[in-house]
């Protein structure tokens, strides 16, 4: 499973479970749609840091880096390259 798919599965199972079937593609707006709220982001951050052994610097903690699966994948790529 690639990074995008793992993030998608996490979002589907942990952030929107029990809310019916939702399609999430790589560009689906996660924040504006309410899929990620203020507590959901903490859950997502914990997942990302644990699953991908990523250390996310404070300067990277911005909505732009988490608003879609594409944005999250780009963030992880950046962290890996650094």
């Amino acid at each position: 499973m690639n990074t995008s798919e793992e993030v998608r599965q996490f979002i589907l199972s942990e952030l929107i479970n029990g809310t019916g079937s939702v399609d999430i593609d790589d560009e689906t707006e996660l924040i504006e749609s309410g899929i990620i709220d203020s507590l959901g982001i903490m859950k997502l951050l914990t997942f990302i840091e644990t699953k991908f052994a990523a250390k996310i610097d404070e300067s990277e903690l911005m909505p732009e880096n988490f608003h879609s699966i594409d944005a999250i994948r780009a963030l992880l790529n950046r962290l890996n390259n650094n």
Partner: protein, 381 residues
Amino acid sequence: MDFKTTNEQDLLANNIIKFARNELNEGIEQRDANSEFNRREWHKCAEIGICGLTFPEEYGGGNADLSTTVNCIRALSYGCQDTGLVLALITQICCGLQLHLFGKDNQKEKYLPPIISGEKIAAQAISESDAGSDVGSMRTTAIPHPNGYRLNGTKMYITNGPIADIVLVIAKTGQSQMAFRNLSCFIVTKETSGFSSETNLEKMGLRTMQNSGLIFENCDIPAEQIVGNEGQGMFIFNEMIEWERILMAACYLGVMQRIYETTVNYAKTRNQFGKPIGQFQAVSSKIADMRIKIELGKLIIDKAAWQKDQKIRSTVESSIAKVFLSESLKKICADALQIHGAYGYMKEAGIERDVRNSFAATISSGASEIQRNIIAKLSNL
């Protein structure tokens, strides 16, 4: 796994306890009665490095990790009977931390040294009359304006509000329906035109700590006063709140230890029916429960602090620490008063002040109900 503190940590804690007992407790009854903040004691704490414990030396800080900082705060609240002062200092540390973690270099250079030295007092302005735990409901706005932002709104119950020189204000900067994306953090100094603080609010407890409303009326803030980036406010808040909950829990632990020792001593020396009251199971069970709460509370605080030191997210553990220590504090204070009987009910004993103070613990920095929501939400339900 090593539960032992280092010799340096022990030495530091012992020095802080001695300092607090010698320098901070005189006149506490009067200051509590008068809702009086004592700047002299504030500066004494700053002079020994409390405000700067966790900051880099280049800004005048002590470069301590959070585990050491927690140990120091615990020692301070154990020795110092003025819990309002300790909590005011924690607010100062948390404001500095936000600047340290998210601020630009020029902001750190300008604001961290006076925060660390205690010369300037800092406040964190988040709560509003209709936006307490529900941060997203806040109405304070920061609208783009030539050269920066125009701030309008009223904050409520702000710790250090009436005495603050520097205020970190969370305000809405966007039009998104999702507040999570809308919030930004700004540095406002007390000289800023349009900023004013209301008078100190009379409280049930923690009366030496100053709280008030803060008013921002067409307050023009230069763009360089934004902390981090626009829209980063909720992230800054989330990070700060973990630190705050751990430090507050450490403060509660120190108070609990002090009350526990006072109560054990009383139970050993107060005789009724021909023997010390501590020999009666009804009393000794309460004391055993106090000890259980202290030991378990220490473990969760140490774990949460260790996580932060390892750069591991501590959302759940810091919430567990907050809810467990705050509720334990209330219970221990109430039981201590009960064991002290009529004497405990008298102001002279000093316990009633701790009882009054303890009620804020389960309300501020996220009420117990909110902590449980957080823990549940992050428990894969």
